[in-house]
């Protein structure tokens, strides 16, 4: 990313008060925790104002100063509240070091259009902080789950030992449980067997039907669409009981096939919706062009249409996969012991005996999916580079 606007150092009257304000806020938090909020705010404001002024006026070298900030705050935190305080202090130190120079050097302006008013700049960053907060809201549960999965006790509780960062409070036993328990391993195998097959089924049938639906001459289009989307609409418990009852009559209950069919049915609406949406933007003259050049319908489909609607198909498939991979109500009914999936095992775990093994499993899944998503993103960038495109 190239800088849009040339940057220059900002005057003292701008950055010192701003840093002081942030310092007051941080001081307020630390102060209330230690007795007096007001005192904390005043100390925070004065301390940071002085620090900001001093480092920008008397020291030229940025790097050591920022390290000094980190260490200084870390020590202060440790003095106030031990290990956890030190960690918070380190984070504060890093932030204020960065914040001071960010403002002082005017770096915040670099990537913004030069004509923006200060109010717009403020809004720009306020908006980002807001979105950041929402994204944190999105991943909070994962942030909670991860440390709890190393809990040494059999409850979903942050024990005092954990909060003190006492190694006694942590253990890997729930991970051992997961890898050594036949139940969990079997559940993992079942999930990995059922979800991809159900996804494949939903995606292949769903894509075909979506292509058919996007043609303009389908009679009863609305009705058909409503039927195909219905698995998403019907409350799950009703679907589960209905399918259980019906599948047991035709001998599908308690078989892999039954669970796969049920999950495929649940995943179909997502595929239909995403693929039809992509097809709305699909230029049909492309297929006609292909046909006029002698391609048969199959070739046309795989060589022309498919690559263009692939993103829709993939995201539909992703939804379908997750639907199956995270589905518990229907499998609870349609499956039997032999088809126990991970969510089912988790459900029994939650209901019958709270065990952080569930959290360990979740952590592993999150780690795996982060790796996968990162790899996909890296591959995408690499192919972009190879094709000589600029990213974005």
């Amino acid at each position: 990313m190239v800088a849009l606007t040339p940057i220059s150092r900002k005057p003292v009257r701008f950055y010192v008060p701003t840093v002081a304000l942030a310092g007051a806020f941080a001081g307020l938090l630390v102060g209330t925790a230690n007795g007096s909020g007001l005192l904390g705010a005043v100390i925070g404001a004065v301390l940071l104002a002085v620090l900001a002024y001093v480092v920008t006026h008397f020291i030229d070298n940025e790097k050591p100063v920022r390290w000094a900030f980190v260490i200084l705050f870390g020590i202060a935190g440790a003095a106030l509240a031990g290990v956890s305080g030190a960690i918070i202090g380190l984070a504060f130190g890093w932030f204020f070091g960065w914040f001071t120079y960010w403002l002082y050097e005017g770096r915040y302006r670099a990537r913004l259009a030069p004509y923006l008013t200060p109010g717009q700049v403020l809004w720009h960053f306020a908006f980002r902080v807001l979105v950041g907060a929402i994204l944190i809201f999105l991943i909070t549960p994962i942030l909670v789950v991860m440390p709890l999965s190393f809990n040494a006790e059999n409850f979903f509780t942050f024990t005092p030992e954990m909060l003190r960062f006492d190694p006694e409070g942590y253990s890997l036993k729930h991970y051992r449980d997961f890898f050594s328990s036949d139940d969990w391993q079997q559940a993992l195998r079942n999930s990995l067997l059922i979800a991809p097959v159900a996804t494949l089924l939903a995606v292949s049938f769903g894509t075909l039907a979506a292509i058919g639906l996007s043609s303009e001459h389908v009679p009863f289009r609305r009705a058909i669409m409503a039927i195909l989307i219905s698995p998403m609409i019907v409350p799950l418990i009703i679907s589960a009981a209905g399918m259980y009852f019906f599948y047991s009559r035709i001998g599908l209950q308690g078989t892999y096939l039954g669970v796969v069919l049920a999950h495929a049915a649940l995943g179909i609406p997502f595929v239909i919706i995403t693929v039809t949406a992509t097809l709305v933007g699909f230029d049909r003259s492309l297929t006609r062009a292909a046909a006029s050049m002698g391609a048969n319908p199959v070739t046309t489909f795989f060589r022309v249409q498919m690559p263009l609607i692939l993103p829709g198909v993939i995201s539909g498939g992703l939804f379908a996969f997750i639907t199956s991979f995270d589905e518990v109500v229907v499998v609870l009914f349609v499956g039997s012991a032999g088809q126990k999936t991970l969510p089912w095992q988790m459900f029994t775990g939650l209901r019958e005996q709270i065990s952080p093994t569930i959290l360990a499993v979740a952590t592993i899944l999150v780690a795996v999916s982060i790796c996968l998503l990162t790899v996909v993103e890296l591959l995408r960038r690499r192919s972009e580079r190879l094709r000589g495109m600029s990213p974005g």
Binding site: T157, A241, R249, F333, S336, A337, K340, I354
Partner: protein, 370 residues
């Protein structure tokens, strides 16, 4: 021990062989239970020794007991019974028996007699609450409280009405999200005599009265629906006291070492046990009967208490209850039926709840949702 076990097993086998004769038996058996520590205790006490004797038998465990009633009904309507033996609570057994989904059993023919020759019917006694039900354990729903949250200078709570005493024992309570048990406790603490509780509860006024009593603490109650909830809430310190199954509290106190105490007053007894689904083909039925004969004999029921603190349903098993398999503590004092614990107990009236469950539940849920 090993010798006794083998001896018992051989006896059981002989008896079983005698009744079943040369009948064909299936080699696979699906047993439905609750999962967790309870199912593990059944595997340890029944399934493992049984499979040792019959290495060719494969036992599949299905953790569907919570949905058992609904699933059995659907299996029955579809005419495709896939389960061989199902662990349910007594109230569900009665319901299943009423629906014709569970097989009627003849205790003296299908269950082993006690070692001293007492017939199974006498040995199980009153616990045979339904024609289809094969009792296995006696458990109780009772209260646990945080010992470290008892206010200073106050005795630990030791009677049921302390649940309502918010002044002496401030803090949240956990109660199960259903009328059963709660309505009885409410009436007991509202001054109704123990033997009149169900008469009072049968009248609309009595139901109102119980709800009004519960209303006194409604704001301080967290309603639980899964068995694992109260132990978790206690471990978090989220509640001061809460009702749950005594086995859960045992595990919280003895196995997990949490600062939790047990209040046995007005514990409400309930039963867990087996039912055999109606309509099994003969070879599977023969196998199940063979297993049940083995798994409900005196020694086996006593063995289960090594892993979980539920009382065996046979009178003759009580003296045989030994030590916990891992912790090595005597299990007898932790049984809900132990004399010290059972000073003031309350008997669950199955007949009453079979009739009034739907009616009172509708009122209870409407009251809850207000």
């Amino acid at each position: 021990m090993k010798f006794t076990k083998t001896l018992m097993a051989t006896t059981a086998l002989t008896v079983a062989a005698g009744t079943v004769g040369a009948q064909e038996m299936a080699d696979e058996m699906t047993i439905v239970s609750w999962g967790g520590a309870y199912q593990q205790s059944q595997i340890n006490a029944y399934a493992d020794p049984y499979q040792e004797m019959h290495p060719d038998v494969e036992i599949v465990w299905d953790e569907s007991s919570a949905e058992a009633v609904a699933k059995l009904r659907a299996q029955n309507e579809a005419g495709n019974i896939t389960w061989d033996l199902v662990d349910v609570v007594a109230a569900d057994a009665i319901r299943l028996c009423d629906e014709g989904l569970a097989m009627e059993i003849d205790p003296d023919e299908d269950l082993a007699a006690a070692p001293d020759g007492t017939s199974a019917e006498d040995d199980f006694g009153d616990l045979l609450v339904s024609d289809c039900f094969i009792p296995q354990i006696v458990y109780s729903t009772t209260f646990g409280y945080r010992t470290d949250m008892v206010p200073e200078g106050v005795d630990a709570p030791d009677e049921i009405c302390d649940v309502w005493d918010l002044e002496t024992y401030p803090g949240k309570r956990a109660l199960e999200k259903r009328p059963i048990n709660n309505m009885e406790w409410a009436l007991l603490c509202d001054g109704v005599a123990k033997d009149e509780v169900y008469d009072v509860l049968a009248t609309p006024e009595g139901q109102e009265r119980a709800l009004a009593k519960l209303g006194e603490i409604k704001d301080d109650v967290i309603w639980w629906s899964a068995g694992a909830d109260t132990p978790q809430l206690l471990a978090d310190g989220e509640i001061f006291m809460g009702s749950t199954y005594n086995g859960r509290l045992f595990s919280v106190i003895e196995e997990q070492g949490q600062p939790v105490g047990m209040m046995w007053d007005a514990q409400i007894f309930d039963l867990g046990g087996w039912i055999i689904p109606e309509g099994l083909p003969e070879d599977r039925l023969a196998r199940v009967k063979d297993f049940v004969m083995f798994a409900t004999d005196t020694q086996r029921l006593a063995d289960q208490a090594k892993w979980i603190s539920y009382g065996p349903a046979r009178k003759s098993s009580a003296p045989l209850v030994g030590q916990h398999a891992d912790l090595g503590i005597e299990m007898a004092p932790h049984m809900p039926t132990a004399p010290d614990n059972a000073k003031n107990t309350f008997l669950y009236n199955y007949e009453f709840w079979a009739d009034y469950r739907d009616d009172i539940d509708a009122k209870f849920q409407a009251w809850l949702a207000q």
